[in-house]
């Protein structure tokens, strides 16, 4: 309820701040048409909420049009971004979770790999971009690689932490029942560490979605990040605002999906 009030207040303030202040100078109608409303009626260069709303409605009606490389529907651009995030993210899951198990279950591997992880973790994922472009020689694959490298660390650390901190007594139960290592990993350690692992996966998808926008601005071509930059070059602030809004909503949805998975595996004690 308060959220809705705040939203209405925000829209009203936005509308007031961007509406025209009337005619500012006398000029011939032809000249005025050339100059546009910003110069002639003191209208802010910032689009108002109704401009954005109208444009958004247009986008929603035609999300998948394709008029060449510089004019694709919002749906297509989002689709490219989500596909890149998903591929990079799933690759990271496939690497981070088994490796996290190894590190969590073996103190030796933990000590051996820790220095590497500590050095690699704080590197901004975009710093890998030039190296990726040089070695992979494909901008789209490089973006996927960047997503992979940025989502791997939170998952790796959370998995190894979750696995290492499984309660000793549960491990002892499995030991007294002569349960083998593999079966123990799946029947005791995996369910016990699942909430922590899922939390890591949730952090990762958030970071991946943050990074894809920046990565696509760099590699260009397709994707929501490229869309933002392209519309900036077109000076279409309306589209930039729409893109920002969409990025936020998609990010929220991705987070919600992972949050639901986390709830599914969480057990009350």
């Amino acid at each position: 309820m308060v959220s809705i009030l705040l939203f209405c207040g925000f829209i009203a303030a936005w509308h007031l701040a961007t509406r025209g202040s009337g005619e500012v100078a006398k000029m011939s109608p032809e000249y005025a048409a050339l100059m546009g409303a910003t110069a002639t009626q003191g209208k802010s260069a910032m689009p108002g909420p109704f401009d954005v709303g109208a444009k958004l409605w247009e986008h929603i009606q035609r999300p998948f049009y394709d008029n060449g490389p510089n004019d694709k529907g919002l749906g297509i651009q989002l689709g490219y971004s989500i596909a890149r995030v998903m591929i990079g993210y799933l690759l990271a899951v496939a690497v981070a979770i088994p490796l996290g198990f190894l590190i969590g279950m073996s103190p030796l591997m933990n000590k051996a790999l820790d220095p590497f992880i500590q050095v690699l973790k704080p590197i901004s994922p975009l710093a890998w971009m030039p190296l990726a472009l040089y070695t992979i020689k494909d901008s789209s694959l490089s973006a996927i690689f960047v997503i992979f490298i940025c989502s791997v660390w939170p998952m790796l650390l959370n998995t190894s932490f979750g696995v290492a901190s499984v309660r000793k007594e549960w491990i002892n139960v499995a030991r007294t029942l002569e349960v083998g290592t593999v079966r123990r990993a799946f029947t005791v350690i995996l369910p016990a560490a699942a909430p922590t692992i899922l939390t890591g996966m949730r952090i990762s998808i958030g970071i991946a979605w943050l990074v894809i926008v920046a990565a696509e601005m760099l590699v260009g071509g397709t994707g929501i990040g490229y869309f933002v930059w392209n519309e900036w070059n077109n000076l279409s602030i309306t589209n930039v605002i729409i893109a920002i809004l969409t990025i936020g909503i998609v990010g929220m949805l991705l987070d919600q999906v992972l949050a639901r998975f986390t709830r599914m595996v969480t057990f009350p004690e």
Binding site: N172, V173, T176, L177, V179, A192, V265, F267, P268
Partner: protein
């Protein structure tokens, strides 16, 4: 086949490296044995190493020296022959009551199909009085019910011995009492060989056939083996009216309060291989058995 040494702990020692170099000896040259079908109970102060003894018996911990022989075979690591009931029940919270017990059953009999496992599990859930709670999760159960599941899980794999590490210490007095009754009934019915660690004198007196008195660590020893003089068909209600009750209770309490600290220094000739066996009350002339009609 020696039936009176079904469990035989032979000269085990446990040492840890001490902080300033050297070693801390928790206990050494420790011997004890328990016949088949009996209930043994080690009692001592916390920190004397009694939990370590149990963990060694379970195979969760290795002795620095010595060996443990169960049913004629030296033990090596953990085994399905030795079930453990943990102090903190240690149920898997993401499994139901049925799931927790079934995990143990299907670990012992890998080839069993689902229906057979379920039927077997059901028998033991019924045995501990949890019929109707099969599909509850541990978080929905009270402390006493959780420990019942722990007992069902341990019994369900029909172990040669059952090991209990202060199984009732986290429970309130009433629950503890009724669970002790259950354990005693089940052990008598099934002839289960059981080994328990406790610091509760009444619990030891009610449940155990043999009570091993352990001195304080480091360097703990088994000072005496008390053979419980109370009748096998004892009941909690009139236990304290039995003529031997106070003799036995005073003996154990005296040991725990005073003698456990001074025993090692006042008995330099204590032979850990031949620990004195005492039967307070029966051996003690000062306790005159009451007349039968006095009860």
């Amino acid at each position: 086949m020696t039936n009176d040494k079904f469990i035989s702990v032979e000269a085990i020692a446990k040492r840890y490296p001490a902080a300033g170099g050297g070693q801390t000896t928790i206990f050494e040259n420790l011997w004890l044995s328990l016949p088949r079908g009996e209930f043994g109970c080690v009692i001592g102060h916390s920190g004397c190493g009694k939990t370590t003894v149990l963990n060694i018996l379970a195979g969760l911990d290795q002795p620095t020296e010595g060996a443990v022989i169960v049913d004629g075979q030296a033990i090596e690591g953990t085994s399905l022959d030795r079930a453990v009931i943990f102090q903190s029940h240690a149920l898997l919270p993401w499994r139901t009551v049925m799931g927790n017990v079934a995990y143990a059953v299907s670990s012992k009999w890998r080839g069993w199909d689902k229906a057979k496992v379920r039927a077997h599990v059901q028998r033991f859930i019924d045995l501990v009085g949890l019929t109707g709670s099969e599909n509850k999760r541990p978080s929905e159960l009270s402390g006493g019910m959780k420990q019942r599941v722990g007992i069902a899980r341990a019994l369900s794999i029909t172990p040669k011995i059952m090991l209990m590490d202060e199984p009732f210490s986290a429970l309130d007095a009433l629950t503890r009492g009724s669970l002790q009754d259950e354990v005693r009934r089940i052990c008598l019915e099934t002839g289960q060989t059981t080994f328990m660690i406790t610091h509760d004198v009444d619990e030891a007196m009610y449940l155990a056939d043999k009570i091993y008195l352990m001195t304080n660590g480091p360097g703990a020893v088994i000072a005496e083996i008390v053979e419980n003089p109370l009748p096998k068909d004892r009941a909690r209600i009139d236990l304290h009216r039995h003529p031997y009750y106070y003799g036995l209770r005073n003996h154990i309490v005296d040991f725990l309060v005073t003698r456990s600290k001074t025993f090692t220094s006042s008995n330099p000739n204590h032979d850990p291989l031949h620990v004195p066996i005492v039967r307070p009350g029966i051996d003690d002339a000062s306790v005159v058995p009451l007349q039968a009609n006095a009860r």
